[in-house]
C-alpha cells in the first residue's frame, strides 16, 4: 500500500470520519434488523423498523430455517349476478362460477421456462402473505373470516379504525386484525380484477387458499405417496371497485 506523503487534509478527514461513521452505523443497524431477535434489536425498536421502511427494507432468511416445502394455490369463485340476487343464493337465481385455481393457471407459463414473467408469481405471493396474516389471528377471528361479509358489512362486523374497535380488541389483537384486513382487501381486489378478466366482472368473490406439502424425501420414490393439503377459507366478500386504467389493464 502506498503511503500518503502529504499531510492529511482536514476536509478529507472530516468526510472520512462522518461518512465512515454513517456507513458503520448503517451496517450495524442492518445486522440488527436482519438478524435474529436479540435484546439489542428490541432496544433499538421502533426506530429500527422505521429506518428500514421502504427502500432499505430487507430480510435474508432465504429458504430458511425451513426450505420452501409446499405448493401454494390461490383459488376463487365469483357470483356474477347483482349483489341483491347473489345474497339470496342460487335458489333465487344467483349465477356462480366454478372454482378456479388461479395459481395453477399462472404457473403454466413458468413450466420449463426460466425466464417467465412476474405475472406467474402474483396469486402465489398474495397467498403467502394472506395465509401468514390469517395464521396470526385468534381462533374466533379465523372462524369469522370464513363467514360472508357482503353488501357493505365490514369484516369482523366493525370498522377496524373506529373507536368501537379499540374498545372491543386489545392493541395486539387489533394490530393483527388490521394487518389481516389489509391483506384480505388486497386479495379480494386481486380476485375482483381476475373476475373482470375472466367473466367481465362480478359482484362478489369467495377465496380458498390451499397448501399441499411436498412428498417427504424418504418417500420420494413412492409414486403412491400423498400428503394432506390444508386450507384457509375466506367467505364471500363484495368485489372492489377500480379506476378505468386499472380495469383496462386487466380487460
Amino acid at each position: 500500500m502506498r503511503q500518503h506523503k502529504t499531510r492529511p487534509k482536514l476536509f478529507t478527514v472530516l468526510v472520512l470520519l462522518i461518512a465512515g461513521a454513517a456507513a458503520l452505523g448503517h451496517i450495524g443497524a442492518t445486522l440488527a434488523f436482519t438478524g435474529p431477535s436479540t435484546p439489542i434489536k428490541s432496544s433499538l425498536q421502533p426506530g429500527l423498523n422505521r429506518y428500514f421502511l421502504g427502500p432499505l427494507d430487507q430480510g435474508w432468511s432465504l429458504f430458511a430455517p425451513g426450505p420452501y416445502s409446499q405448493d401454494e394455490y390461490f383459488t376463487m369463485r365469483a357470483c356474477l349476478s347483482s349483489p341483491e340476487i347473489c345474497a339470496q343464493g342460487s335458489k333465487k337465481g344467483a349465477k356462480f362460477t366454478e372454482w378456479r385455481d388461479v395459481t395453477a393457471e399462472e404457473m403454466k407459463s413458468r413450466a420449463g421456462n426460466m425466464f417467465a414473467n412476474r405475472e406467474s408469481k402474483q396469486s402465489k405471493s398474495i397467498h403467502g402473505r394472506l395465509w401468514s396474516a390469517a395464521s396470526d389471528l385468534s381462533t374466533s377471528a379465523r372462524e369469522q373470516i370464513a363467514k360472508p361479509f357482503i353488501q357493505g358489512t365490514p369484516v369482523f362486523g366493525v370498522d377496524l379504525s373506529s373507536s368501537q374497535a379499540r374498545k372491543e380488541y386489545s392493541a395486539t389483537e387489533l394490530s393483527n386484525l388490521r394487518a389481516y384486513k389489509r391483506m384480505e382487501d388486497t386479495a379480494v381486489g386481486f380476485a375482483s380484477l381476475y373476475a373482470i378478466e375472466q367473466w367481465g366482472g362480478a359482484s362478489m368473490v369467495e377465496i380458498k387458499l390451499r397448501r399441499e406439502p411436498i412428498v417427504p424425501f424418504a418417500q420420494r420414490n413412492n409414486d403412491e405417496a400423498k400428503t394432506k393439503s390444508r386450507e384457509t377459507y375466506i367467505g364471500w366478500r363484495d368485489t372492489k371497485e377500480f379506476s378505468k386504467a386499472a380495469v383496462s389493464a386487466w380487460s
Binding site: 478529507t12 456507513a23 421502511l53 420452501y68 401454494e72 425466464f115 408469481k121 402474483q122 391483506m183 386487466w250
Partner: protein
Amino acid sequence: MELNQETVNAPSIRNWMVKNRDFGSKFLAALYSWFTVNRHAAYGLAVMRMASGLFILGWLVVNVPVASKIWGPGSEYLEPYRSVLGYKWPLDILRDAGLGFFVFWYVVAVVLAIAFVIGWKTRFVTPLFFIFYTAINAQNTPVSDGGNYFIRIMLIYLIFADLSKHWSVDSWMRKRAAKSKKEFEAVTVLHNLALCLVVAQLCMVYLEAGLYKVQGSLWQNGTAMYYPVNSEAYGVFPWLSDLITANSWVVALITYVTVVAQIAFPFMLFHKISRRIALIVILGMHIGIAVVMGLPFFSGIMASADAVLVSSGTWLTIQGWLATQWREKFLRRNPSEGTSEPEDEFTDRPEKASSTA
C-alpha cells in the same frame, strides 16, 4: 549476560509494544491512505455495473408484456398493502399514475438501464436509475425476489462509487479527448466507503442466509435441497429436479455445501486462495439456483456483486485472454486487419491492488 540478552529478545507483549510504539499512528496513516489514494476495485465495480445492469434490463424487457398489469395501473389492487410500506416521493410516484405516465417511466427506466450498462454519465445515471427502478419495484413488492431487494440496496451504495473509471463510455470518451480525470480525495473516500458497504452487505447476506439455514431441521438432516426443487414454484424443469434428487448422497452434498459455503464466505475472503475457492463455489451455487430453481435474475444479480471481490489483475487477465481470442478469430478472417496496437483500455493497468482486489 547472555541470559539477560535472551530475556530482552524473547517474544513478549512488552517487547512487541516497545518495537511497535508507533503502531497506532502507522495504522491510522495506512487506513487514511487506503481510503484516499486509490479508488479500489474499479474493474470489479465496472463488471458489477455491466452485469447487474444487464440483468435489470433483461428483467424489465421480459416483463414488458405484463408491466402495466403488475406494476402499472393494473396493480391498484395492492394499494391496501403498499400503503404501509413506507416508500416516499419520488419512489411512490407511480401509485396514482395513469397508463401514459407509467409507460413513460418504464421506457426511461429501460434507457437508464442501457446507460448504466455502457457506463455513460454514471454519476448522474446511477441515482436516476435507482429512483426509476425502485419506483417500479415498489408498485408490487410481493412479486419481487431476493435479487430485486439486493440490487435496490446495492444501487444506493453504488451512487457513491466511481463506476465508470474503466470499461465504460465515460472512460472511452476521456481517453479519446486525451483528458485525465481529476480525482478529488473526498470523492475517493466515498468511493471506497461504497465499496466497503457493497462487500459488507454481500457478506451479511451470505452469512445470515447460512446461519438461518443451520437452524432448520431439514438443512441439518441434509434433505432441504430436495423440497423447493420439487415444488411447482421452483421446480421449473421437473426432469432435472428428479435427476438431481434421485441420489440421496447428491442431495445431502448440495445441501451441506450450500450451508457451509454461505457461512464460510466472509471468512474465506481473507486469503487469496480461499477467496478464489469461495467465489467459485458461490458462483456454482448461483448457476444451480438459476437453472434448477428458475431464478436467473436473483442468481445473476447476486453473482454480479461477487465481481468486486475478483482482483483487478484477474479481470485484466480475462480481458487480455478475450482480446487475444477475438484478435485470433479476427485475424484468421481478415489477415490485413487487427494487427494494430490494442486500445489504451486493453493496456490499461490496474490501480494499486486493493485488499478486496
